[in-house]
Subunit: 415 residues, 2 copies
């Protein structure tokens, strides 16, 4: 690999950055280079005011009336429409609600119900664990012998798509190594075998353009608190292709999914639209934070985001290429931008301690067991100069072995 | 009924009120008598500051590190312990998480799994509809012929508890008429027939003392946004009796219910404690609002709350007794305090319009189809003078027929 090819100059790249102005719309702490927006996105400045207003005026002053006057009741749909634009979904196909895990439970249950004669759910061993746990839970509850079959590598998936597979359930971009699947091609192959496809967009939404409609995806789910910057534990989202809406498909049949919740019928009559996938009362404070974070995206062109993301990952890889071999860092993320998301990961010995030493120096990435250090690139608020500096600080830490201090080896609850 | 017996003097009752000081800890709008705390509790003043701090300092400054440094990761357990004290639950039996509907899905699934040879779920036709909808969803997904059998009146329940009933699922206090079940007696009768019992405490928690441990309840669920004042769509809670913890019982098997979420195992190994009933990432902003609201309860004696609640309901009923018959108001709530919760409901013609006219005069209660006007008594922030004034304003509205104006007949989305 010739690392001088297309060498990126950070200063020039920052000068020419069409997204430069967005940085000012985020609260970023002094002395920190934040490369963990793929775990928790930074705080959009306007969220504080918006939530304060909701608490003081809508809850405090208007009280129960705000369900109508502030239209709290339609927050899941309103936020859903804002997310829809970023993921290539049509109107009335996306709602913001619950958590990613719960939303997967809903759409996986629906997908199995739509494909009742088949028993296999195909996914990857390296998928984010909660997705696999939820599939276990769904299969156990249905109790008809559904089983989860896991591919060891992305390349194995195609060969596993046979006539007994009901659902292919994949995370578009791998949380650990950043590998990105070809959504359109895999969806097409699965459909040719009569298999429904669920895409988890946790590491995709807000990181790159995507076209669920074009790919003819059946269902999708995703996360509000990563690249979308919706806040810690923000409401998640789900997408249901219009051809699968209607019927009584998902088992979390709470009152917000009812056709007329405030008629207080004893019988569940599901909404015909994507609203059927709502369940309980929406968490308004978390929802308005998410709504405000999403408002910022209304001004964003996703192709521009992707171009900057690719350039930032390229820059980071190029700079680390100059010392990776010497210190035993092995690039875990594909070099080819077409095969990756918006993060760069390395496997290395002592990865946990190295990441702790980085954090102590103000470079925040994260560690994922067993041996991955992970750096997320959030184009709305990061500069090329920061990316370059992070690579330089990592080099210093490795050269001086500052990671080899006892305090950097102490594990926290969340790493 | 002799309405002059034990006549309550509002001025004296307010002067002697041991909970008087709590009112100052709430934000209450001028010109409003808020009798809808059973739908959305009022705003505790300290919530605004707490949420602002979480947004600015924990999310904005500390970012991802707050999962450890601010202990976000244990919010469900911490808030759960605060709720546990109010509902007579032991330590490590309650978590705050998800919505009431989703929590019912979890505990009902677990209860059916624990009683696998029986096929009936008994509840009431007048139960809050989402509870019935969720039972439909669980039964459909399990697909083993479970069916929901509904009692027409509370008195019918005992006779329905036969050897094919797996679960008795009741809301302790009826949302519409305020009728309260005898939790200890019904639980005991159900257990004698080998039936597990789930109590929905939506209209109980924060309204009166309760003793889940003493009643030997199997499971309970409840709501954070009513009497507990956790904010609109606040996290709900669930209780699991220690004898039912362990195993792999509930199907929403997300990563926060895993024994070691941050080991990122491919296989689900459930936590042995009540934490197994957690699913996805907790919504931190909603959780800290709830935590702050619950901190206020640490200073509250629930017997005192109940005594004031009973007296307020008695006062309201006494005053309305003087004109109820003349205007066709029929008391829907039992007169006997042992048989009711903390609300007073009347059935009447034109109930929707009457409630709209009341709201226009600053008396906020709510309407529940088909004909119920409902007034919730939240002892922490209401005065007896307000209760008395509300009854007087209702009388004026009925005397002058101000409810009979077109604008009071226009239905909103949420009534």
């Amino acid at each position: 690999m010739d690392s001088t090819a297309n060498k990126i100059d950070p200063a020039r790249a920052d000068r020419d950055d069409p997204l430069r102005a967005f940085r000012d719309r985020f609260e970023l702490p002094q002395g920190v280079i934040y490369l963990d927006g793929n775990s928790l996105g930074a705080l959009p400045k306007s969220v504080r005011q918006r939530v304060a207003k909701t608490i003081s005026e809508e809850w405090g002053e208007q009280l129960i009336r705000s369900w109508n006057s502030a239209d709290w009741v339609h927050l899941p749909q309103r936020v859903g429409e804002r997310i829809a634009r970023l993921i290539g979904a049509e109107e009335r196909t996306v709602v913001a609600t619950d958590s990613t895990s719960i939303n997967l439970f809903k759409v996986l249950s629906a997908a199995l119900d739509l494909n009742p004669d088949r028993r296999k759910i195909v996914s990857e061993r390296e998928n984010f664990p909660t997705d696999l746990y939820i599939a276990e839970g769904v299969a156990k509850q249905i109790g008809k012998g559904h089983r989860l079959v896991l591919a060891d590598t992305p390349q194995d998936i195609l060969g596993m798509l046979d006539e007994d597979v009901a659902v292919l359930m994949l995370t578009h971009v791998n949380y650990r190594n950043g590998y990105r699947h070809d959504m359109a091609a895999l969806t097409k192959s699965a459909h040719e075998k009569g298999i429904l496809v669920i895409w988890d967009l946790a590491h995709t939404a807000g990181a790159m353009p995507i076209d669920l409609t074009g790919a003819q995806a059946d269902f999708a789910i995703g996360c509000g608190y990563k690249y979308l910057n919706g806040g810690p534990g923000a409401p998640a989202f789900l997408y249901v292709n219009p051809r699968h809406q209607g019927g009584f498909r998902q088992p979390l049949s709470g009152w917000f999914g009812h056709r007329a919740p405030f008629d207080f019928d004893a019988d569940y009559r599901p909404s015909e639209g994507v609203e059927q996938y709502l369940c309980g009362t929406p968490p308004v404070l978390a929802m308005v934070a998410m709504d405000e974070a999403m408002a910022l995206w209304d001004d964003v062109d996703m192709e521009t985001v992707r171009a900057k993301s690719v350039a930032m990952c390229d820059l980071f890889i190029q700079e680390i290429d100059t010392y990776a071999e010497e210190f035993g860092l092995k690039l875990a993320t594909p070099r080819d931008p077409h095969l990756r998301g918006s993060q760069v990961s390395y496997s290395c010995h002592n990865g946990y301690a190295i990441m702790q030493a980085l954090i102590a120096r103000g470079v925040i990435g994260d560690f994922r067991a067993p041996d991955i250090i992970r750096f997320g690139m959030a184009p709305l608020y990061l500069s090329f100069a920061e990316v370059s500096e992070a690579a330089a600080i990592l080099k210093q830490i490795l050269e001086t072995r500052t990671w080899d201090q006892p305090e950097y080896h102490v594990r926290g609850a969340v790493t």
